[in-house]
Symmetry: C2
Subunit: 129 residues, 2 copies
DNA sequence: CTTGACCTTCCCCTGTACTGGAAGGTCCAA
DNA sequence: TTGGACCTTCCAGTACAGGGGAAGGTCAAG
């Protein structure tokens, strides 16, 4: 199948497909005599995997690592478990940071809505921040 | 004061100061006869404001908006309150998204540690994702 | 035979907040 | 006068995941 068909079938764009090839996520496909890319239909499930992994927050670099292990003939199980653990730790850290920031901003906002605004000080630009 | 002194006094870098000037956060300072930037000390409190605002998660573009209102002679109170409200809504949305993602990833990880890894399917690359 | 839809490679652009470095000018002390 | 520390402008690059568009080749239908 040609790149446009694959793009439609997989829900991506032709740009993304060429980009994935450059990035090592898709193997270079066969070419027709005239140079068009000629994909085998199995690539669709590979692209589904890429999309599911992206939904789990993995970067393309991490997804490529998994695919390379898999393409090397091994099951990437342990590596995937490690990536998921790392990702979970990342998420916990990010969530904690955002919650701390949320508390700060909520306090600033509370101050900004209750304090008398006429007492602004030209020097500090804004008394709320 | 020269740009190096200001950088030291305000805890930023000379690079950042020139960048802020280009970005419209700092007014172009006086110049010495030889072309050196010659800052007045009041810029320090402006830089403090920029830093506090960044700590609250505002972008430089948003900070510039506040400064432009202030520089226009008005108190930016209402605008700041709006920005803080928007920021709070942003944070709530981001936190909710991350928590949903965290639940998904936690489920994937749980599956990955309990399911028999020998039943991998070559077609789908990895049965956990 | 020509039109239009598709394909190729190529390079630049997006947003964020800067950092690094090159090439050259300035200032002050020894 | 020379050296080093400072300053100037401008160009390029960082990470991420592609998007936009140019210039040109290809294929099937009318």
């Amino acid at each position: 199948m040609r790149i446009g068909e694959l793009a439609e079938a997989s829900g991506t764009s032709t740009k993304a497909l060429r980009f994935y090839e450059d990035a090592g996520l898709l193997p270079p496909p066969e070419r027709t005599r005239s140079g068009y890319r000629d994909y085998s239909p199995e690539v669709i499930s590979r692209l589904d995997f890429i999309r599911r992994s992206q939904s789990a927050g993995l970067t393309l670099a991490q997804i490529r690592e998994i695919l390379e292990i898999r393409d090397g003939g091994q099951a990437p199980c342990a590596h995937v478990q490690q990536l998921l653990s790392d990702r979970l730790a990342d998420l916990d850290r990010q969530i904690a940071e955002l919650q701390a920031l949320r508390a700060t901003v909520a306090q600033l906002k509370a101050d900004a809505t209750t304090v008398d605004p006429t007492r602004c000080d030209a020097q500090s630009v804004c008394r709320y921040l």
